[in-house]
Amino acid sequence: MAAGLLTAVLVLLVGVFAGGLQLMQRSEVHTAATTIGRSVLEDLEDRGGFTAVPHGPVVFDGSNPDPKSGNFPPDPYPVAVQDGREYTVTVEVRSPSSRLRSVLVSVSWGSGKIRLEKVFHASNSVL
């Protein structure tokens, strides 16, 4: 009975460890993807915000990859590599008004994807 109990617990433990490791890896990937998307938007903010973004609508698909227009989109477009994993970056721009530019950054890996959107206003740009 003891042997059976011990075996069952050990099997369960191994299973949980394996699942936990998988979950941890997924967390790291999710965090890395968010950090990549965020770095694109923060880089645009540092380079003037509105003035660093072209007129929309326009799409830069990192999976093609579409060529950059000047310095847009900023690195790590089109592809970022972290811990041996490849993340594809896609950037879309819309212009809701002449003084607004909205940027959507999608970071995808394997079967996963995160998306971050930020609107830049001309008045907050460094002229």
Partner: protein
């Protein structure tokens, strides 16, 4: 006994197994907690970031709303962002809008203390993936406007021939200020061909300049032509469109439809107060405003110029000419035209070149221009360093060993010989006197202004001849009793004496003369300046007549003259002037040597159709392009001098609303 021991060991194994299992289960629990917690943290990091960006995006959207409607106090409840990745909420309750209080000194109470006039406290919630983040900040008017812009076009800008765009503080302060050139154009195929939206159709010469920044909202690196880039202080593409006021011109006119006083078609005196005209109007002669506001519901054609202080509202097209008068103060007109604006000048320079050549006076004409250029340079140098010392202004003091010229009248004081030997004194004398001993170095002809006067007098009367004659005449003191057309132009006299009074200088320094300099004014200023450099002082015993005249007044008069001589450019003698600011919802076309002392704003009305316009009597030399609302075309030596202190001030804009302080 043996069995008993054996049984005891088996119980121990179970106990050990249970204990070991308990430890394993605890480890299992810890592992589960750790991994799920890590995953939750990772998920939350994304949600939190997305929600924060949603809040910042909401703030940007609200800024945009406040720029077009500074009184806005609406509510957004989970309003989606443009891509729909999040939403934002704001309401004025927690938020406080004090951007445009009825009383400019009024503070409103906010959660962190009073909200200053001209600012707003905004609290914006961002929502994404079930998470909410909040940003709080103070927004306010930013300095980004075109108070320092010489021209703003929501459309394109086309410059023909010479380009001269500069800015200064006032006629009394020649300090340079930025004179930016701004195009908000972002479309494709600007002129129907590959011509860039901000374009100059000429090659560079040494006199071409844009003393400011050229800003283009077009993202193309070639949206500003390279020759313009080379003459500007800075040229920037892909710039944020500058917010410009949406002046409701028709509304302003409709609001005055009950005004009974009409706009005279042949005005004989300056206009004051409100005037209304309900149909197309043609005014023969100059339209002179003395704190007047004119409202015309139709086209306005002025067969003359518009000048003075006031505002003109026109619901249709506006056509008028530049003025022969240079105004010495900061008065100006604001013209609001719903339709296109056509500002015409005269081909005076070409005309002078032609008539002097035909009358064999090309050399005198050339030396007249050269003399004024040198005189302008000397006075401008003084304006830049207004000190009465030889070191600061050597051109106003002769070399010490230069012999006296002529026989100075001892009654004029001991400094008179000093004056006659200075380059400035000789230049002035030679322009008006028919005596060869006063020729300055490099000048071979004398009585230059007299000879130019006879050239103009000899020509048959036509609009350009009359304009040129008027141009010289208005620059004279009306009290000067002489038939010589050019005598006393900008205060140069052919008399041998330099006597006058302190008032001549004081009135010019302090007054608001329009179009003329008092008799002998410039002569006296130069003479007294050289005297001061020579060590004399005003009053007894040297200069009785100038008792009470201070150095500051004398310096101010000379600085004012520098401003005037700069505008009264003999290299472009046909120049006419418009002093004020022009705002149109159509296009602007100016040509034929017009100097605009002020600013231009062409602002397309998005609610109106983009009707192409070709000025009906455009100069045939100008490029054959049609203009659309929001476009500016300056041709044939059109010059802009942007005065920062112009009264009643540059065209108002909707100032941008930017973040002043982040609170959270």
């Amino acid at each position: 006994m043996e069995n008993y021991r054996f049984n005891k060991k088996r119980g121990m194994a179970l106990f050990l197994t249970l204990g070991f299992t308990t430890i394993l289960v605890m480890m299992l629990g810890a592992t589960l907690t750790s991994t799920s917690g890590g995953n939750i943290f990772a998920q939350d990091y994304h949600r939190k970031t997305a929600a924060l960006y949603a809040a910042e995006s909401g703030l940007a959207m609200i800024q945009d709303r406040l720029e077009t409607n500074p009184d806005w106090e609406g509510t957004f409840d989970h309003e989606p962002t443009p891509f729909g990745e999040g939403s934002y909420s704001v309401s004025f309750g927690p938020s406080v809008n004090n951007l445009e209080p009825p009383d400019p000194t009024l503070y409103k109470s906010g959660p962190y203390g009073p909200v200053a006039p001209g600012t707003a406290y905004l609290k914006v919630e961002g929502h994404a993936f079930g998470r909410t983040e909040v940003v709080e900040c103070i927004v306010g008017r930013k300095s980004e406007n075109f108070l320092h812009a010489a021209m703003v076009a929501t459309g394109k800008i086309y410059l023909d021939e010479r380009v001269d765009v500069a800015g200064r503080v006032s006629s009394n302060d020649l300090s340079l200020t930025p004179a930016d050139v701004i195009s908000n154009f972002q479309g494709e195929a600007p002129w129907g061909n590959s011509t860039p939206p901000v374009y100059w159709d000429e090659s560079v010469t040494s006199t071409d300049q844009v003393r400011g920044t050229i800003r283009s909202a077009s993202e193309s690196s070639g949206s500003i032509s390279s020759n313009l880039v080379s003459i500007s202080d800075e040229a920037l593409v892909d710039q944020a469109p500058v917010p410009v006021a949406n002046v409701q011109i028709q509304d302003a006119i409709d609001a005055k439809s009950g005004v009974a006083v009409r706009v005279p078609t042949s005005p004989t005196s300056p206009l004051s107060g409100d005037h209304y005209e309900g149909s197309h109007t043609t005014v023969t002669g100059d339209l002179i405003l003395n704190n007047a506001s004119l409202y015309i519901d139709g086209d306005l054609t002025v067969l003359g110029s518009i000048r003075g202080v006031g505002a003109v509202y026109v619901s249709g097209d506006t056509t008028f000419s530049g003025d022969s008068v240079v105004i010495a103060n900061e008065d100006g007109v604001v013209l609001y035209s719903q339709g296109n604006v056509h500002l015409k000048g005269f081909n005076g320079t070409e005309w002078m070149d032609a008539v002097t050549a035909s009358q064999g006076r090309s050399l005198e004409w050339s030396q007249t221009k050269q003399s004024f250029q040198r005189l302008k340079q000397i006075v401008t140098e003084f304006a830049n360093n207004p000190q009465f010392t030889t070191a600061a202004n050597p051109a106003l003091a002769p070399p010490p060993d230069t012999p006296p010229i002529g026989s100075p009248d001892p009654d004029d004081g001991p400094a008179i010989g000093f004056y006659w030997r200075s380059e400035a004194g000789l230049l002035i004398s030679n322009l008006a006197k028919d005596v060869s001993i006063y020729r300055p170095p490099g000048i071979t002809e004398n009585d230059l202004l007299g000879k130019m006067a006879s050239v103009i007098d000899n020509e048959p009367s036509n609009p350009t001849q009359r304009f040129m004659a008027e141009k010289f005449r208005v620059l004279k003191d009306p009290s000067a009793d002489t038939d010589n057309l050019l005598l006393n132009v900008i205060g140069i006299n052919d008399g041998d004496t330099l006597t006058g009074s302190a008032e001549i200088v004081q009135n010019f320094a302090e007054g608001d003369q329009e179009g003329y300099v008092p008799n002998r004014g410039l002569q006296l200023e130069i003479f007294l300046a050289t005297a001061r450099i020579d060590g004399d002082h005003m009053g007894e015993p040297n200069f009785d007549a100038y008792e009470g005249l201070t150095d500051a007044q004398l310096a101010r008069a000379l600085v004012k003259h520098a401003h005037w001589l700069d505008l009264y450019n003999f290299d472009a003698l046909g120049t006419s002037y418009f002093q004020g600011n022009i705002y149109t919802r159509g296009a602007i076309y100016a040509a034929q040597e017009v100097t605009i002392i002020g600013s231009l704003s062409a602002v397309d009305d998005p609610d109106e159709p983009d009707v192409a316009w070709t000025p009906p009597d455009r100069d045939p030399d100008d490029s054959d392009i049609s203009l659309k609302p929001g476009d500016i075309h300056l041709g044939q030596g059109t010059r802009i001098l942007h005065l920062s202190n112009l009264n009643p001030g540059p065209v108002s804009t909707v100032p941008s609303v930017g973040v002043v302080t982040w609170l959270r």
